[in-house]
Assembly symmetry: C2
Homo-oligomer: 443 residues x 2
């Protein structure tokens, strides 16, 4: 039996930390559902060839093999999903006869990636995704809506304000094409690493791919442009002019990005910023792309990313357009925990410990507990009939705020924080609302 | 890219089926929390040597290897957990400094087993576990409590009544020892297969293991005994007498099982049955063992199993006793779905579709939606400004009961099931409580 040590990249939380993670997940869930997104879950595994579809992700896959008693039966042909988008696309295909389009779904599950763990980057982590997939055309207002929904959801969490950086693949691709970049997807993947490897690093990669120095300069200059509103457009036009790109080549992309940044800011004022640096490494994006940063925690990287895709979902020979965005729940929670952005009032659900005077009266304590639970009050009966002082100590160690003392001439309940003890009836007494369940407070 | 087909043993649900699965999970969660069980989650993986600890389970493990871009880095030394007990034992060891004992936890997660899929038996499935682990001694009332808690939780689900069959390892082991069985754990594993391979099959296994014919007969006779109350004890004593086992050898076991069946039935009348057939294949059980059957669905096998263990959890050189029970959530849900024990009122969260008269007035519809959501009413704005008849059709296809029509001289809302249309104000109108969220109804 191996020694017990945490496994790097596979985080686990103490019970009071799990209260915070659950709060984050339930808050996202509620906002998503209020916006009409239905929940689905997909199996943890997909066929390896489907997972390998995107070349960039292949290195991150965990493949599965069944271990039999004495041997193993080799490659099972499946691996753990590394995101929720690939499984969702497959789910839509499989369930297309049972869902109505445009299909709005949310999905909150763990995903796995083999990459090297580091601060905010894990091998097992929760993602919370919303996507909309349409049957024929996907209206641009849905590219605005998914960003607005996550902005509202993140706004309810105990975290600093977020800024959603948006870009549009149509604009960037037209620009890259305009300066003569041949392999645009490869160039996008290089520019996506800008914050990681810097201008020089990106330039070296592009040069290696045969991109001219002038084009490299132009692409990097484009990536420098950003604005909190439509004013990015003039800068893009000026840069295009300097690089000999005809204005009409960028017209559609500029219009799309303008509508996107203005639309999100109309829905959630000040949350969106046009940022021409946002590239996203994944080949399947075709329009809006998003990355989201937490004010004062930009080192964490994007906590919420996504975009529009037009040929990821295939149903009956045709492709269905979609748009989606994914919250990095574990990345957020790990930061909330590591810098104390929030704390849980306690780690155990119980608001009340019912004391036991002696083992022969345990049934009486159970009856009191049942009465409280029937009224929605979480409680537990003392594990033993130790002296009351010991039982109070036990409640204190568990973080339980109240201790209930059954008495032949009437019960009493003690708030062990204040020491106040009052008469109480299990049919009517309730703790203050703030004490009923564990709560999450901003730290 | 592979064709899209369901993967045997990895079930997925349509949105309205997921509503039912969520209802089951949330009901269990609420009852567990009301009883003071704190939630934890553990990582999906454990070191292979820890998973292999129990010989019987080894054949069921999915091992992981990282697949790199061009090669793979071989065995990662970890595999997916096949239950939540082994990870929980490791968690207690790792977090022992941060939790108070007796530690009461619940855990609802997916687990994976490589075994052959069949009706009610999956390769990926949800389990919902509660366990209590004590620092020194584990009082017998906790063996009663965990069974009572799941009985109460299952009693709230849209399923037929359940019967918890209980036994006590101390009693069975004393009896087996008394008739001269040498390898008691192996004999228990054989008897555990009684319902699968029958008396003859078990007898053959035991004979192969060198157990005498008389002992085989005695063990199989013991497995025939069962009663809804303490009356099993007389039958056991009579059988012991016939096999020359001194009465005092079984006294402790009989007393334990009597207390267990009486205690559970006192807490939840009629739910428990003493059943000397219950063996459980796992070596680590040392006292109470449980299996649970759904009335009229006994073919499904046990939907909820567990037991007491005394040396599974190790902290600082000593072992900590515990008791736990695990609900097979996916097994239950799959049966609820396959025979229609329950249905969801709809698969989408939205109670209201806000119509859009023309795209220029979309913002007005969004404002109405925001007002409803602020009051906790789930809704969505129509994806397009088609004719109202088309928009109503869209709501109908999605299962949304109400359509809201913004109007310059006041809004109206239509119940599309009855056709009734009334004036409405987004600041005050609400759907009937039954329509607010999707609900689960007994089928």
């Amino acid at each position: 039996m191996s020694r017990v040590v945490p496994v790097s990249g596979f985080p686990e939380w103490a019970p009071e930390e799990r209260v915070i993670e659950r709060h984050v997940i339930e808050t996202l869930r509620e906002v998503f559902a209020l916006h009409g997104f239905a929940e689905i879950e997909t199996r943890a595994i997909e066929p390896l060839d489907r997972l390998r579809g995107d070349s960039d992700a292949a290195k991150e896959i965990y493949a599965l093999r069944r271990v039999l008693a004495d041997a193993d039966d080799g490659d099972s042909g499946v691996g753990l999903h590394f995101d929720l988008t690939v499984p969702f696309a497959r789910y839509v295909e499989e369930f297309s006869g049972r869902i109505a389009f445009p299909f709005r779904r949310y999905q909150i599950q763990k995903v796995w990636r083999g990459e090297r763990p580091q601060e905010g980057r894990f091998r097992e982590f929760y993602q919370a995704d919303i996507d909309v997939v349409a049957r024929d055309t996907l209206p641009a207002h849905l590219e605005i809506e998914v960003a607005a929904v996550v902005a509202r959801a993140l706004g309810r969490l105990p975290i600093p304000p977020v800024r959603i950086h948006v870009n549009d693949r149509r604009l960037v691709e037209a620009f890259y094409g305009g300066v003569g970049v041949a392999d645009i997807p490869a160039a996008l993947r290089s520019v996506d690493k800008l914050s990681k490897i810097g201008r020089e690093g990106v330039a070296a990669e592009l040069r290696g791919a045969g991109v001219s120095d002038a084009a490299i300069e132009a692409c990097l200059d484009l990536a420098e442009l950003s604005a909190p509103d439509a004013s990015f457009a003039d800068d893009v036009r000026a840069l295009a002019l300097r690089n000999g790109i005809p204005e009409e080549a960028l017209a559609e992309g500029i219009a799309s990005l303008t509508a996107l940044v203005d639309g999100i800011n109309a829905a959630v004022p000040g949350v969106a910023r046009a940022d021409l640096r946002i590239a996203r490494g994944l080949d399947y994006y075709t329009g809006a792309v998003y990355e989201t940063f937490l004010e004062g925690h930009e080192d964490l990287g994007s906590i919420c990313s996504g975009g529009r895709y037009d040929s990821l979902v295939r149903v009956g020979g045709s492709t269905l357009p979609g748009v989606g965005i994914s919250v990095g729940v574990t990345r957020l929670v790990s930061r909330i925990l590591s810098v104390g952005l929030a704390t849980a009032t306690r780690g155990v659900p119980s608001a009340v410990l019912i004391a036991v005077a002696d083992e022969s009266s345990r049934t009486g304590s159970e009856v009191i507990a049942a009465a409280l639970r029937a009224r929605g009050i979480p409680c537990e009966v003392s594990p033993n009939a130790a002296k009351f002082g010991k039982q109070i100590q036990h409640a204190d160690r568990r973080g339980i705020p109240f201790v209930w003392f059954p008495g032949e001439s009437g019960d009493e309940v003690k708030d062990i924080r204040s020491g106040e003890q009052v008469s109480a009836d299990a049919a009517t007494w309730a703790p203050p609302t703030d004490d009923l369940w564990p709560r999450v407070e901003r730290g």
